[in-house]
Assembly symmetry: C2
Homo-oligomer: 399 residues x 2
């Protein structure tokens, strides 16, 4: 496993080092940092931020984390820790960078509440696993949901995770208990690719009880985090992390969620990003589907699409030709008849023949039409002609 | 039980008789008949339709049913049959006429396919039961669904039927097996009012196995039909009847429906009429919810709202003040904190105190803010101050 991609020139390495230090000095999502970097580039932004004279909350927060160290030495330490653990760095300058993450700078300000203020793109990502992150993200769907999943939610999550992976889609989720774990496992079971975006270091995935799953993902999929190895999974970080799950994929499916579920925030991010936002209906008698139904009840200007199958999901995120067939149920013989013919067949008795006039009377159609259409209905097997008139055919329409 | 409402004058009686003959001579929903009556009034329309020289499909169909009889004698016969069975007539001229049925003349032509051509208002209604139909329809919701209901659908149907009736809403349905029967029974159980709109004579309700239910509705609710007593329940008539179920109420709820269910047509009529159109989500693993989910998947210009409770239904059909409370789940202590406070609490260790500087480092916030906010967090019980710094409070946020 490589710990960097290709040979980085001196400048490239400087930029990468600046990114990984910035990514650690300032908690992810900061608009201020994003704009500082956009204005001056990562190297100069880091220099300004860590200059002794720098003031403001951003510089103060950075100073606490820098703790008097030399930024270059901090970069070296972070880098070495990653290398030792087999973790590589992917920055916006890397060929492996999934460009769709840059869309995070467009999340509308109106959509931001207090907890939402940090929604700007990551400075860098720490990655474990044998795949190219950019390629993995090219055809990706996020499947998320509650930690306290039901048998129903787990079943549906497994169906979707397996089916999407089986069709070559990368399944993105957050590695949590419940739905997240189910969809990761299902994608792996399908021999597909799955990406787990974590709220802590990729060397210490959380929760511990999913350790075996995380090891498998590190070997067959991708573990991704904005935080350097060793970082603890603080609660707030899950919410900050959610924007990356939403931004990495073409759409997010809320598989099963109670009213209060962090996964709903991921769906919201998908909406704010203009990505497909989907939710799976469930029994209205289940507390664990209340969150999904609340999402489906949104007004038309905040659309969340109900999806019940892999086909429905592909219809939202796929290209031309991915329209799911509309379930039609069994076709019935009645479908082939015109309205007057249906009226006539209805009025033909099941036992004992009736004359055309009587049938016209019962059906309420002109006698002329009855006389014209009954023989044709008999030819097509819907009624039988016998002495005295017509009787319903056993296997015809309406039988 | 009265068989007419109030004393009808000679002219009124003539109009009423013309209506009930027209309602029988021509199968319900006819646009041609509706326009003939609108242009000339019922009496003159009947005279023209039954004049020997009348031509065209409408006159021919009427001639079959009239069968050479005198229209006045047919009226008398129909009237006497109704009176004998305790069935009364309600026409657009009656005080009991629910005016919202007249909206049926506005169903858009684009919405009509072959089976849909008959969507115009009824000429008259045959009614059994001790209530004023107009009053019963003033605050009404239609609950419809598949005949092959599941335990789940029956449960939800009963909850909605009971709850709506209990809140003074009339529950309208079609008297079929399954969901229809469940919602009628639930409304009756709540001591509420229920209206069953039938596709056959109100003296011979279909299906037979619901006979006891129909008798109870005739005694405590209302049985309604466009067809005179004695008329058989032909298949096509169910579809024609559906428009009345949709038009009578302020909104239609599809409780449970397979992909192919006549109840979906009732929901479609509700949409075409600009009434509230609603569907109950169910397990995506259930064939019997596929119809509901397909309805919920409609594009925003054909809105069908997901409803999971009586409150949700009332939000669609009720007035101001009927907004359902949004389920929020248990409030958590973390909600009361600002984002920086959340970061700080996350970073306070659960065991062994940490100094403010260490906490600021872990959280990635300025030391100044940590020093300012930690004592306040301690005062509010989220963290405890002890020798060496701060430790997480047992019952505080994030515990």
């Amino acid at each position: 496993m490589t710990t960097t991609e290709g040979a980085a020139g001196a400048d490239e390495q400087q930029v990468r080092d600046a990114r990984l230090v910035l990514g650690w000095l300032v908690e992810p999502g900061s608009k201020q940092l994003y704009e500082l970097v956009r204005a001056h580039g990562p190297v100069e932004a880091l220099a300004r931020l860590t200059a002794g004279a720098a003031t403001g909350a951003l510089a103060e927060a950075a100073a606490v984390r820098l703790n008097g160290r030399d930024p270059a030495r901090l970069a070296q330490a972070l880098w070495e820790r990653g290398a030792r653990l087999g973790v590589r760095i992917v920055t916006p300058e890397s060929a492996q960078w999934p460009e769709q993450l840059d869309d995070l700078r467009h999340i509308s300000v109106e959509g931001r509440d207090t907890i939402d203020r940090d929604t700007y793109p990551p400075q860098c990502l720490w990655v474990r696993g044998p795949h190219d992150l950019r390629e993995a993200g090219a055809r990706a769907v996020s499947l998320v949901g509650s930690r306290s999943s039901t048998v129903y939610g787990a079943h549906v999550g497994a169906e979707l995770g397996y089916g999407l992976a089986d069709r070559g889609w990368t399944v993105v989720s957050g590695g949590a208990y419940g739905i997240d774990a189910v969809v990761h496992r299902a994608a792996l079971a399908a021999g597909g690719l799955t990406v787990s975006v974590l709220a802590c270091g990729v060397d210490r995935p959380y929760p511990l009880s999913n350790s075996a799953l995380f090891e498998q993902i590190a070997e067959e999929g991708l573990l991704v985090s904005e935080w350097p190895p060793g970082t603890a999974p603080f609660k707030v970080r899950f919410l900050v992390r959610n924007r990356v799950i939403a931004a990495l994929s073409r759409g997010t499916v809320l598989v099963e969620a109670a009213a209060r579920s962090g996964a709903r925030q991921t769906l919201r991010r998908a909406r704010q990003l203009g990505r497909a936002a989907m939710a799976v209906p469930g029994p209205v008698t289940s507390e664990n589907s209340v969150g999904c139904h609340e999402e489906l009840r949104r007004e038309p200007h905040e659309p969340v699409r109900a999806v019940a199958s892999v086909g429905h999901v592909l219809e939202e995120v796929g290209g031309v030709g991915d329209l799911a067939p509309v379930p039609r149920g069994r076709e019935q013989a009645l479908d082939a008849l015109d309205p007057v013919e249906r009226q006539l067949v209805d009025a033909v008795p099941r036992r004992g023949a009736a004359a055309a006039g009587q049938i016209a009377y019962e059906a309420g159609v002109p006698l002329r039409e009855a006389l014209a259409k009954l023989p044709s209905l008999a030819l097509r097997g819907h009624v039988r002609e016998q002495a005295g008139g017509f009787v319903r055919a056993r296997n015809g329409a309406g039988s």
